[in-house]
Assembly symmetry: C2
Homo-oligomer: 373 residues x 2
């Protein structure tokens, strides 16, 4: 039988670790004591304990196998399966997830991924520079001017801030159109392309209206907040329109930041986001205003996004949360070329020097490249 295997870290387990492992296997699959489950149902659907390993005085590793059918070929139900109810158990963290290849038939990952992004902006190799349009409440002209200066300097990707949300679609249309036009103007001047990703949010007709506007402008992608919209809802919204999407991690810190609970960054913002089809995944990384509390997560998250995963295309890892141009210049030294760095405030603070400083940074990113692609 094909199994989805989940690795949990149990810290200071509140019961015998072997019993705990059995409890989790049942809780996350059939949610009944074994005696109440008919044998044929248990054989096909009950989760099973694969390994219980003592790591140190306080911590155990529990490996559980779940029959693949329990995911119902849905990314949302996969979340349910591996962490739904156990999120209420004391000190259980999901730290690993391995999926059978046949699950990829229905969860095929990014429609574009790193290759499509590089192709859209014609940058085959080096690390990429991204900026963000903010603050909310700014005049449309001033956001468009920021996008224009960044694109003129040769920047790679402009995204809307996740706080840029309009209660009325007409305001969204005016703002996004102005920024898209600024990008076209820069492209006409420089002969280079910069990718613009508007933030799309909400539900129902309002959500669809924003997606119509984005598609109508011929833009290639959007920013979505999957931990607010729902991972599957976000993935579906983008895929239905053939749009690429950047997964913003708002709210995800509740899962990733505790050491003893939640879901580790490489699983949540790596494996799961890639499986859902995000083309770019932002996560904190090291340094800046917001950084991950886990020293070893950054490389592992990059690997989860870009390493081999059946037929899935790689998702572009992007470090965000108050990163600087200086950090962007050196990103490839540590993590290779297939990363992006999001620089917001440090760039906006340059004022009239934005274009020049973007040029300088892109040149430094080019020179510090590792040759890996």
């Amino acid at each position: 039988m094909q199994l989805i295997t989940a690795r949990y870290l149990a810290t200071q387990p509140d019961r015998d670790p072997d019993v705990l492992a059995e409890n989790i296997a049942r809780e996350q699959s059939l949610e009944l004591t074994r005696a109440l489950i008919p044998d044929p149902v248990a054989e096909r659907f009950l989760g099973r304990v694969l390994n219980v390993i003592r790591l140190d005085d306080e911590r155990w590793q529990l490996d559980i196998g779940y029959p693949m059918a329990l995911a119902s070929k849905q990314i949302g139900q996969l979340l349910q399966l591996v962490y739904g109810n156990v999120s209420f158990y004391p000190r259980i963290r999901l730290t690993g997830l391995t999926l059978p290849e046949s699950l990829f038939d229905r969860l095929p990952g990014p429609i574009g991924g790193i290759g499509a992004i590089r192709s859209a902006i014609d940058v085959p190799e080096r690390a990429l520079l991204m900026t963000v349009l903010k603050p909310r409440g700014s005049a449309v002209d001033s956001l468009a001017a920021l996008a224009l200066a960044f694109a003129r300097g040769g920047g790679d990707i402009v995204k809307d801030d996740q706080n840029l949300v309009d209660a009325e679609p007409v305001d969204f249309a005016l703002r996004v159109t102005a920024c898209a036009r600024a990008m076209e103007r820069a492209a006409d001047e420089t002969g280079r392309r910069c990718l613009y990703l508007p933030h799309v949010a909400g539900s129902g007709a309002h959500l669809q209206c924003q997606l119509d506007i984005v598609a109508g402008l011929g833009l290639k992608g959007v920013v979505l907040c999957p931990w607010i919209m729902g991972l599957e809802s976000a993935a579906h919204a983008a895929r239905e329109r053939g749009l690429m999407w950047l997964a913003h991690p708002a709210m995800a810190g509740s899962f990733t930041e505790p050491n003893d609970r939640g879901i580790a960054t490489p699983v949540l913002l790596g494996t799961l986001v890639r499986l859902a089809g995000a083309d770019i995944s932002i996560f904190p990384g090291h340094g800046g205003r917001i950084q991950t509390g886990h020293g070893d997560d950054v490389g592992a998250t990059c690997k989860a996004l870009t390493g081999s995963m059946g037929p899935l295309r790689p998702t572009l890892p992007c470090f965000g949360g108050g990163k600087t141009l200086e950090q962007a210049s050196r990103a490839a030294e540590r993590y290779g070329n297939d990363v992006a760095v999001l620089v917001g405030g440090d760039l906006i603070a340059r004022g009239p020097a934005i274009r020049r400083d973007v040029e300088t940074t892109i040149a430094a990113m080019h020179n510090s490249g590792t040759g890996q692609a």
Copy 2:
């Protein structure tokens, strides 16, 4: 200016608490240092520190006011506003949320709530008994037989387990139809109504197809998992069809269970779920297989769901996670009549005595009522 006020608990703050409060106010609103925000934008949109109070040696209470416009009249964006990025800050927990009345124009709460549920089953006063259809993988007949026995005993609400998900709509249709028919049969026999809430999941056409089937059967509501589907996506799916919905808390433990991070149960599974329009909110409460780690949350969550909140109808609080018939019998003694108790395994284990034990429990719930309604 109308403010949304958020109360945060900072445990072992990593910087001066006054500075931390200013940082959060900026992070969650405009995400730029003050010097980079034009004055007119700051006046209209910048979050502001209202109070910084030392609670003890380790903990501070930070009250922040956010201009109401930042929520963009969307429940999803309200989540973004009060906890999006700050989820990555060390040891910050959202413990309180107060909303201006005018926000209720666009976030009007439940379409039915406690009153509509009581009316549908003609139980004007006492605490309510709910059960759950499981395990997944059971024959349809066996799930329908469980529903039938519960309804014949006079049980109030039957919900699908959140693991009951079909990859193919035809299987959903067959299963839900059989269970709905069982409920009709029981109603014909007993003259009483029991509410059946199928679990609906996924996205796009598959989600819509399930909702079509539920509406076509004339059922009054569904189970949704808002922390998997997205709170706003879930609310929209139900509201568009005029269906009531039960909010299942899968994944929500990541927010509620740490003491020093995340979002307190009364805010997440109380205020926010009610504002989104859930008619029933399940949360762990005391006792049973899954229980909350916070002694004082249960009453506060009930109050957040049922107490005065502008024009919003009250949402029915439901204790779940391995509760027993014995606990159900006594629930009203502690929390009043406006609660439901979800009993799964303890009821299923009764086998042929299910109907009788439901009758006995309902009688006990009737007798232990407080007269509060």
